[in-house]
């Protein structure tokens, strides 16, 4: 029964794409939303009734599904987030044909792939073995490629989509190795087998898993693929950053944390990667002026914080922060899309839509504050939990987490004030007019803001008890001084954010470099170009040297045949023949002259035979290939005939 969670969105996607030709905007949105809703209901049922699923490919290969604690959180959150995003996409991205009734095929494809994306992600979080996980892991990547390259007509877009796909697929290779290592050690692919591995194989498997998770979660050094992914439409980014794709990495770590943490280098490595990404990503967000890229950097940073939580031994905390972050980040992306509709670009400095869209600005404000980690919003609580978790390891770690929180407060403030702040007086007249957001668009945004607001209840002790009861995972005990330090840093971040947005943006090479992940995309592109150049070089090498060697051999053979052998043939072989003939003639003449022949017939026969033989031998040396072939085949036929006759006898 657990398969229904996967199959409903996947089959729904196929049906919608093939059967939705006559649907308009509303029809498309409604049917897609219905599919997601059914998935959501099924996920709820599955969590309550403990379904399982499995299908065997062969004796060794079996796909198994099982709900884990982490999986349950994801299985419910994914459709919950996808629902408003799908509704928004139907209205924001789908364009109508000239008859103004039916949707363009691109829009239909977008909606279908969004559904497939949800299905693949459900498969990922339900998987109970590495084979199923790998299938889902790669499918999610393929879906994101299809979604990012939605506007394939623009020259740059397919390149960016390919970059995003390839960077994450490099991570997927780790999962191939991990699955193979688990098989080598346990004879199967189940998660349970991971714990049974010996030290060497376990190390290999965990390294592979970490590589895969880091690439998907956009941690250092893979962070910049999220910038490439910005070539996709807004709903795609919203889904990609909140509940799918990027979330896959943290899911896997949280799911397997008990086994992964048995290796001693796991915790320090994961904390180091997470913290580095959180801090660097925060700086990138502070200086980034492209609305979506600012949010993308923030995504890396926030997932970095979740990594810290897992590394510190609190996967439950990471899950809670994931949920809180998912709703607010989806909402912020949708908000960025609405602002872009008004101004025609994602440049933050051109936006300032607070005056035109006050209601939406308010809703976005709630989510920005949550991203900033401001009490009493839910995301603030989960961030404090991460700081507390880090504090269990070392005090300075907790301080660094709080610092990362301060950075996120800064860029969240910048985003809010620049995208949805009041316009500066001198710029007010330049505001162009865009279409008002549709009800579906603003409704989706409000819904996400509402859930973000609702999540504030986790500050209540009763709610915390409930969470601890439902999720069988440990929460961290927060200390008061940590909370105070965090809050001070958050307020400081907000204040600096206010100051920064008042000033005119200054451009310098250093700021640009900081805003672009300190040259990381350039480095990745250099690697890609290196591979392509190597390919070109090898292609030339293959043509000139490998094949050249062959051609050389052939030419040598021809030369040998034409000059040397032909001459040899003429002078030696043929001369021999002529010699024999002459010898025969001489012999015959001698016999005839001396008249002492044993018999009259013999020499004549010899002469005639040798003359005839010489003639034929000369004729056969005609230099014409087909004559040779005829001769060879005749000879073969004779041999075959002899063989057959021999067998008969």
């Amino acid at each position: 029964m657990l398969w229904t969670l996967v199959l409903v969105p996947l089959l729904g996607a196929i049906l919608l794409y093939l059967g939705g030709r006559r649907l308009g905007r509303f029809g498309l949105s409604l049917s897609a939303a219905l599919v997601v809703l059914v998935t959501l209901v099924l996920a709820g049922l599955a969590v309550m009734s403990g379904w399982q699923g499995g299908v065997a490919w062969s004796e060794t290969l079996a796909l198994t599904l099982k709900l884990s604690a982490a999986g349950s959180v994801f299985a419910v959150t994914i459709p919950l987030i996808a629902l408003p995003i799908v509704a928004y996409a139907g209205s924001h991205e789908v364009t109508l044909r000239f008859d103004q009734r039916r949707a363009e095929p691109q829009g239909r494809r977008l909606m279908a792939v969004l559904l497939a994306f949800v299905g693949a992600m459900q498969l990922l979080v339900l998987a109970n073995d590495f084979l199923t996980l790998l299938i889902a892991w790669e499918l999610v990547g393929a879906c994101s490629w299809a979604l990012i390259s939605h506007k394939w007509g623009q020259v740059e877009v397919p390149k960016e989509a390919a970059q995003a796909f390839l960077v994450t697929r490099f991570g997927d290779l780790g999962l191939y190795i991990a699955a193979a290592a688990v098989f080598a050690g346990s004879g199967g692919f189940g998660y349970a087998g991971l714990a049974a591995l010996d030290d060497g194989l376990l190390g290999v498997a965990i390294a592979g898993i970490l590589l895969a998770a880091a690439a998907k979660s956009a941690q250092l050094p893979f962070s910049s693929w999220l910038f490439a992914a910005m070539a996709g439409p807004v709903p795609v980014s919203a889904l990609l950053h909140s509940a799918t794709m990027v979330a896959a990495g943290i899911y896997l770590l949280a799911r397997l944390q008990p086994t992964l943490s048995t290796v001693e280098w796991f915790a320090p490595l994961v904390i180091a990667i997470g913290l580095a990404t959180a801090l660097v990503g925060g700086v990138v967000g502070i200086f980034q002026c492209h609305a979506k890229k600012l949010l993308a950097a923030s995504t890396s940073a926030q997932y970095g914080l979740m990594w810290v939580a897992v590394g510190a031994g609190f996967p439950g905390v990471a899950l809670l922060h994931f949920v809180a972050h998912a709703f607010l980040k989806a909402g912020l992306f949708l908000a960025a899309g609405l602002a872009e509709r008004q101004t025609g670009s994602y440049q933050l400095h051109d936006m300032r839509q607070g005056g035109r869209l006050p209601g939406i600005a308010l809703a976005v404000g709630v989510m920005s504050l949550a991203l900033a980690g401001m009490v009493p919003l839910g995301a603030a609580w989960s961030k404090e939990q991460i700081a507390a978790a880090a504090g269990h390891q070392a005090v300075w770690l907790a301080l660094l987490v709080s610092l990362a929180g301060g950075l996120s407060a800064l860029y969240a403030t910048r985003f809010q004030l620049l995208a949805y702040g009041r316009p500066l007086r001198r710029e007010r007249s330049r505001l162009p007019d865009g279409p008002r957001p549709s009800r579906a668009e603003s409704g989706s945004l409000m819904l996400l803001a509402g859930v973000t607001l609702l999540l504030s209840v986790v500050w209540w002790p009763e709610a915390q008890d409930w969470v601890a009861e439902v999720l069988p995972l440990a929460l961290a005990k927060s200390k008061t001084w940590e909370l105070v330090v965090s809050l001070v840093l958050v307020v400081l971040g907000i204040a600096v954010g206010f100051v920064m947005t008042r000033r005119q943006p200054r451009s310098s090479i250093w700021l640009e470099r900081a805003a672009g992940w300190f040259g990381l995309p350039v480095a990745i592109q250099a690697i890609a170009q290196g591979a392509v150049m190597l390919g070109h070089f090898l292609a030339r090498f293959d043509d000139r040297v490998v094949d050249g060697g062959l051609r050389g051999t052939a030419r040598f053979g021809q030369w040998l045949a034409r000059c040397q052998l032909a001459r040899f043939d003429d002078r030696v072989v043929d001369a021999g023949l002529r010699g024999t003939a002459r010898f025969g003639q001489w012999l015959a003449r001698r016999h005839a002259q001396q008249g002492e022949a044993v018999s009259e017939g013999m020499p004549g026969l010899v002469i005639r035979l040798s003359e005839w033989g010489g003639y034929w031998a000369r004729r056969a040396q005609s230099g014409q290939t087909h004559h040779y072939y005829t001769g060879i085949s005749l000879g073969l036929a004779v041999i075959l005939a002899i063989l057959v006759i021999g067998a008969w006898l």
Binding site: S58, F189, A531
Partner: protein, 495 residues
Amino acid sequence: MILTVAWIVPLMGAVALAAFPRWSEARARQCAAGVAALSLLALVVAWVGFDPAGPLFQHVDEMRWVPSIGVAYRVGVDGIALAVATMSALLFVAAIVYPVDTLGQPRQYYAWLLFLQAVSLGVFLALDLLLFYVFFDLSLVGMFFLIGRWGHGTPQVSALKFFLYTFAGSLFLLLAIIGLYLSLDPFTFDMRVLIEQQPLAGSGLYAGLVFLALMLGFAIKTPLVPLHTWLPQAHVDAPGPASAILAGVLLKMGTYGMIRLPFAMMQETFAEYSLVVGIVALVAIVYGALVALGQSNLKRRIAYTSINHMGYTVLGIAAAAALFADNQTARQLALTGATVEMVAHGLITGALFLICGSFWQRTSDYELDHYGGLAHQAPLLTGFTVLAAFASLGMPGLAGFVAEFQVFAGTFAIYPWLTVLGVLGILITAALFLDLLRRLFFGRLPAHLGGFRDLEPAEWGVLGVLSLGILVIGVYPRILLTLIEASSAILVRVR
């Protein structure tokens, strides 16, 4: 009996086509397609009647021929041969139905295709070494004429190069076969006896030389780097359907031969050299993928991906041959993966080369840079190419993944480092196919492609069937795996 029907029927079809000079093009094509489909049907019947719990070789036919030297007409299949043969028959039907310019000689074209089908199936069905060798060589003749007479560019040169190069491989094979034959007492060409007796086990240098000759012969056919340079040239000048057959069926003879001859008949010797074979396969994987990335010609690029994919197959075979490794499950997984790769690669690359044929029919141009933005103009073509490309780069849910995953998982248990480096191949393949899709279908449409037509029903019908096969194997490979595992389990067992 059913196997004899499977290869005799196309041969008789070829003779009939040659004998009736008045048939029109449509008639000749229908007749050829019908005959090829009959042959496919016979193999499907054989598949249904195959008992996975039964002996290694089933549906065996045997007839006295030349008993004094141990030659007999012997055909029979194990799961591996049956899977590859059925895939080949399907691909032949597809190649025959796919529309192509027959240059005014439709009868001859279809007759040669049917002849090639008969002898190709013969290679996979034969249980007699001499018969195997005869079919193996005759397949060269069929392909030689298909490339030389219906190719483009410099078809004569390419066909001659193809013929001579692969014929040189056959000579090595012949020497090795004689070597194997002479090692038996009493002399016989019966493959079952050879597999049973392992005559060269522990015979040192002699066995090594025979093994070397066998592997050289098959490596040229597969082809493995650096013996591969005949392949791209033959592909570029061959007509689309002939290319599909060349990549989908003829290359398989090399890897199938490796499993049937050295792997099954010389287990000990193969085990000794399995690491070397594995390293050569790794070179083929990485080198093939990188050179493919460097190509700007559509067909050459796909041709080089074949070298990469056949590398996976050989890697799987090499891992499965490592007798000394105690892990029998892993060896079986690798062998099964190698076989699935053969079937998957046949369908996927067959589809890709047919697509190349469609491009040639429309523009007579393979240069990637001359294309762009076709996604809107030709949505069906785009859809099928995207599917085949993703299948080729190993996307789960499609056939290639099932094969490559098993090869990697099985090989890792035996040669971990080969696997760790080998997976890089799927990354490079992904890069080159995404680049290919981008340059063909995305971006702006150049002005000269304004009249580019989308696929016709005959074309998308054929591609639809192949894609369905790719999808079915990718989603529910059980049908195929049951058949293959029945044999791979017996073959990897230590005797």
